[in-house]
Symmetry: C2
DNA sequence: CTCGGGGACAGAACCGGATTACTCCTCTGC
DNA sequence: GCAGAGGAGTAATCCGGTTCTGTCCCCGAG
């Protein structure tokens, strides 16, 4: 089933068929009808490979995910993001080529292959790090790309599509402050990642804006184990926080569990805020107060922007829905014996 | 940068270059060296599009996921499976093309496009239903495929790559039975899906094998909401179960939460078993006893099998690691007042 | 010494469309 | 009545590889 068969059946030349299927003028109504009918009868559609070759465009977008395969399900971001990206790509007529690589070297090779073999027309850059060198590499490979990440405060590379991560975290801090909390800690993500830093900075800046001292920060790595460890570390302090803002839900839930293990009750003794709003967030004990982003829509926007870039158009500045703060059961008023502003209760650690 | 440039630089014809890069004989050592050197210097690699066209092979595999985008992150299966599939595909030199579709009609169109446009050489069939009509459709499209799913007891279509779901569930039931439980309920997955049915049957068969009456079954849909609802329904009965085997972790965790809400303690009043071993399973209160599968390896095996099929080879029967039963804190001895075999304690609902 | 065979390569056709450069033909305007 | 413009449609070329068909040359066997 080739374009030639359709042309023969419609009694026209291959070019006429091509014209019709690419929406260009130069074919009369009668012929167009015959061609469409022939194509329908033969159930023909232009071969993607041949089309890719002759238009020198793969009509595909690439997404390289650098993560150990077994850790991929830790991250609620990717499934949603992939779904959104795919939805946007499909709508634009592009296929999505996915690749999962374990480390930096493999990631670099993946981009090189994508570029050299013309497998994809553009790629998404996720998990941005501070001073990420990949942007330069892609430029050198002439591989169009969009950067997926929270809008970094400064020097954000052009073509960044991001949600305002910071707003959600600020809302969380204000919420805790309004509940009377004064010692609000943060369990951060892996240092060096833009989204980790943005969330940490938002937490710090909002505290400062509220006239509070930035509480302790513990570095995590977005895993449950890290969340539990960080929580123990914070509660072991002589001045334990009355509230913790975690950089993601997985750490937050593990943190609540760690707190429960040492007899610290959430939210009466300790308030907890997560980030992501994973499906399980409403169903843990207590249900988790967190920040929700529309990741699917974000992915769609990224795909649309990348397609525009690939096709030489200027991607239109999209307004993504802001992160939403979801109040549930894991946050509550500061414990009565810890509240007073003037009286530090540092000598009385929470629990046991 | 084309094969012609390389040929010119090495003073040979295009065919010689092609031969070298496809490992066929007919090129002398001297020429081969010159060609490889030229290719290296020019940093040339065969263009995937051109190669796809002339070999009439896309060198890509397709994975169509039918699921509402926002529900995709409910499922711990896909990220891992995708990672495994991608790993296997890459190793075999194939790219992975992903598509997420919302419904049956879109799924059908997706396969048709894949086939007609020759975008992929084969596809994976997931989320098998009983009497799935898709296998026939793919055969009609001449689209090679492998079926991804638990080995169904009977009439499994050829080319099914699956882990033994049933073994894990049976282990769970035996574990609960050994702890003294006699009324073991099941919260099933969406009916009609092979993996739902396999788990339900395994639960039932093992109970029968142990000489116990199959307890009540409630149909769920793998979501947290369903898990909570089903748990309430079971605990509302006049003869509430002392243990529940859930078809997945999300429902199990939501179920534990629902139990806690009504004062039923896990595991002292109620034992709970999940399925999947999501990253959070060890970090909920109490930690969740569940069944773990090596989904990544499973995905790899599927990819390798599909590649073999596509290339006309007979896929070699792989032995996948069996599902593993992980005992944690959510299962315990049957409550003392409910244990006796001869004395039904049905009139005394647990809790409140 | 000659003929057959095979290895090492070159050249051309081909994969299935897109695109460009033309060729008609008809309608318009003067 | 005729030149020119523009629409309809065709033939040829190209995209960048793969593969089939030949050609040349060298070597060994008879």
């Amino acid at each position: 089933m080739t374009i030639g068969d359709v042309a023969a059946r419609a009694n026209v030349s291959k070019s006429a068929v091509s014209f019709v299927f690419n929406g260009r003028p130069g074919v009369g109504e009668a012929a167009r009808e015959r061609i469409l009918a022939a194509a329908r009868e033969l159930d023909w559609r232009p071969d993607a490979r041949a089309r890719a070759l002759s238009r020198s465009r793969a009509q595909a977008l690439g997404l390289v995910i650098r993560r150990a395969p077994e850790l991929l399900s830790n991250d609620p971001f990717f499934p949603q993001f992939v779904a959104g990206v795919e939805s946007g790509s499909s709508d634009g007529g592009y296929a999505l080529v996915l690749q999962v690589v374990p480390d930096r070297a493999a990631e670099k090779r993946a981009y090189e292959r994508f570029a050299h073999e013309s497998r994809v027309d553009g790629v998404f850059l996720t998990d941005m790090r501070l001073d990420d060198e990949r942007v330069g590499e892609l430029d050198r490979l002439w591989l169009p790309h969009v950067v997926v990440g929270p809008a970094a405060a400064s020097d954000e590379p052009a073509g960044t599509i991001g949600l305002d991560d910071a707003a959600g975290v600020r809302r969380a801090v204000r919420h805790l402050s309004a509940l009377g909390h004064r010692r609000i800690a943060h369990v951060a993500g892996v240092p060096g990642y833009v989204h980790s830093e943005v969330r940490r900075q938002a937490w710090e800046q909002e505290l400062v804006a509220l006239g509070l001292a930035p509480g302790p920060v513990v570095e995590g790595d977005f895993t449950g184990a890290a969340g539990a460890r960080a929580t123990h570390e914070l509660l072991d302090r002589s001045d334990p926080p009355t509230a913790i803002v975690f950089a993601n839900d997985l750490m937050a839930i593990a943190g609540m569990s760690a707190a429960a293990d040492r007899g610290v009750r959430v939210p009466s003794d300790l308030s907890v805020v997560g980030y992501d709003d994973i499906p399980l967030a409403p169903y843990v004990q207590p249900s988790l107060t967190t920040v929700r982003q529309d990741v699917v829509e974000w992915g769609r926007a990224c795909a649309l922007a990348l397609i525009a870039t690939v096709e030489g158009r200027e991607p239109d500045r999209v307004a993504l829905p802001a992160a939403e703060f979801v109040v549930r059961g894991s946050t509550g008023p500061v414990p009565a014996d810890r509240a007073p502003l003037g009286r530090p209760a540092d000598d009385q650690p929470t629990g046991r």
